[in-house]
Structures are given as structure tokens and as C-alpha cells.
Amino acid sequence: MAGTDPIHQFVISDIFPIATIGGDGTEGSGLHFAFTNSALFMVLTVAVISLFLILSSSGRKVIPGRAQLLSELTYEFVAGMVRSSAGTAGMKFFPLVFSLFTFIFVANMFGMVPYFFTVTSHIIVTFALSMLVFITVIIYGFIKNGASFLKLFVPAGVPGYILPIVTPIEVISFLSRPISLSVRLFGNILAGHITLKVFTGFMVMMIGALGALGWGASILPLLMAIALTGLEFLVGAVQAYVFAVLTCMYLNDAIHPSH
């Protein structure tokens, strides 16, 4: 029953194929590139953000209208976040943090629209985003600080004979960052959408199985689904915020590597 299958919403389907590299021409062999529903919603997300920001800031009024105020508030919110976590020196990464925040936020909000695909419910998408942050931190850290960036793995004030134990632990802790960053976003969104679908699926099943009694009983899952919908909007916003804040903190490590 596809109607109540909670996993069905995450299926990726091709909209139009682009190319297949290698393989012997049979189904499923070689590297298959296609414009999928996931890609469509990524493009839509970027288009909506760009259009909104361009249109709302094109007036450039001294006294902003509603749309301009909204985009200015978004700017101020992200700028304050970058300044407080990474200092004024972190403002050169403002475009990166702003793009990540708005992309995740709008993608999560898109995911709440019925029949829309949720881009951030696939771990490869969130992992790519977090690897982007991780690699930026490593490259910028080495360019800015040179070899002294490695001091990040040597906490200050630790006696020399403990260092062989502490340094590998610090390295593992550092390497775990992109994984925890991506799993948190992906897990929250995936779990939320599955629970939402399960509860709404209960309603359909109850009505199908119990008839008139089911109509009355399905009020309970309906109430739960309404509450969960509100919670999901909150989770989507909070996770975008958390991702952006942690990006700022990791960038702060690259800018000032001493613990």
C-alpha cells in the first residue's frame, strides 16, 4: 500500500536522464546521471532564495518594506551568529554560512509541503554539506596558520608523556565532526517525516478497517499529526540554526587554532 508506506516519500526518481558512463547498456550498470526529483528541489530551493533576496533588496529603501525587512533580518541574524561564534575575522566566511543556513532552512520548509521532496532527508546531501565545511576549515586553517594549525590536536598544558594518548583522541574527535554534523541534520529530518507519515497513515488505515467507528477514532492520530507538524517546522528551523552555528564554531577553530 503505497499510500501509507512511511518510507515511500524518500524514493528518488529520475525526471530526465542526462548520461550513462560505462556499463554494458543494461539496466543498472555503469554510472547513471539523471536530473532527479532531489535535484529539482535543490534547484527550486536555490531559485526561491535567490529570487527572494534579489527582489526584496532591489528596492534599497532607507525605510524597508516588509520583504526587504525580512531579508535584512536574515542578514542580521546570520551576521550576529558569525560575529559571536567566530569573531569579526570570521565575517569573511559570512557568504558560506549564509548560503548554508538559508539552503538548509528553505529545503526543510519545502519538505513540509505535502507531496514535496525533502532534500535534507538523504544523508549524502547533508554529508556533502558538512564535508564542504570540514574541508574549508582544514584548507583555510593550513593557509592561515601553516603547521601551527596542528596545535589544534595538542591541548595546551598537557604533560609530554600523555600526548601520545591525547593526540589520537583529539584527531578522532576532529574527524568525527562532519559525521555528527551530517547525521544530526539527516536524522532529525528523516525521523520527523517518518513519524508524521506513520501517524497520518494510522488515520487512513483506521477508516479503512473500522468504517464509521474509525472516523471517530482517527481523531486521536489526527491531533498527534497536527502537533507533530508544528514540531517539524520547529525542528527544521532549529536544525538549520544548529548547522550554521556549528559551522561558525569550526571556522573559529581554523581562524584561532589554540584551544
Binding site: F77, I169, I172, S180, R184, V238
Partner: protein, 129 residues
């Protein structure tokens, strides 16, 4: 001092203007610092309990996974199975604890306990005994 008097007068005027500008820049900077401090205080809203729990959980699990992964790769490369996996798994566990301690310290710093609340016995209480 071989300068003609008219340049002298202009310099004095220019100096006056520079001093005025410097004081205006300084006051603008002070205002901006105050603004920044206020912004940094405002920008740490209370995370919901669910978000906090998931954050701590993923930090802990991710470190263990990375440790085990590195250990597995070392075993594959050097053929030391199962020692690399075992040792690095324990290391990952330690790194997970370290992550959790850092996250919790950060959260505590973001929302300090209200003044006057009893935080349990500390060094001073120990000394009195």
C-alpha cells in the same frame, strides 16, 4: 620652523578637523562594540531539550564510529586484525566522551546558572571541613 604662517593656520585647522574625526570614529567604534556584545548575548536562544539531547548523542556516536572506521582501515592495510579495531574503538569512545564534555561545557557557558543557586560542594567547602 620655516613654514609660512598661512600654512601654519591651515594645519591647525586640519588638525582640528582630524581630532574631531578621530573622536567621532572612536565613539562609533564604542557603540559598535556595545552593539556586538548585545548581539552575542541575544544570539544564544535556549535549544529545545530534544535538540540538545540529539546533539550530545550524535557527538558521542560519531566519534565511536570514526574510531572504529579508522581501526578497521588500519587492520585492512597492515593485517593486524583485530588489534587496530579494538584499540581505535576504545580511543573513539574516549574521543566521544571528550566531545560530550565539550558540548556540555559550551551549553553551560551559554546559559549560566542564576546567581545564588546551590551548585553543590566546591573547593571552598572542602577547605572549611
Amino acid at each position: 620652523m620655516a613654514k609660512p604662517p598661512d600654512t601654519e593656520g591651515r594645519n591647525a585647522g586640519a588638525r582640528e578637523v582630524t581630532r574631531d574625526l578621530a573622536s567621532r570614529i572612536a565613539s562609533a567604534k564604542r557603540e559598535r562594540d556595545v552593539e556586538d556584545n548585545r548581539a552575542s548575548k541575544d544570539a544564544s536562544p535556549e535549544m529545545s531539550g530534544l535538540a540538545r539531547g540529539l546533539r550530545i548523542g550524535t557527538e558521542f556516536v560519531a566519534a565511536i564510529l570514526v574510531g572504529a572506521g579508522i581501526g578497521y582501515l588500519i587492520d585492512l592495510g597492515l593485517g593486524t586484525s583485530p588489534w587496530g579495531l579494538l584499540i581505535l574503538l576504545v580511543m573513539g569512545f574516549a574521543a566521544g566522551i571528550l566531545n560530550v564534555i565539550r558540548v556540555v561545557a559550551q551549553m553551560n557557558a551559554a546559559s549560566p546558572a542564576p546567581p545564588g543557586s546551590d551548585l553543590g560542594p566546591d573547593a571552598e567547602d572542602e577547605a572549611e571541613r
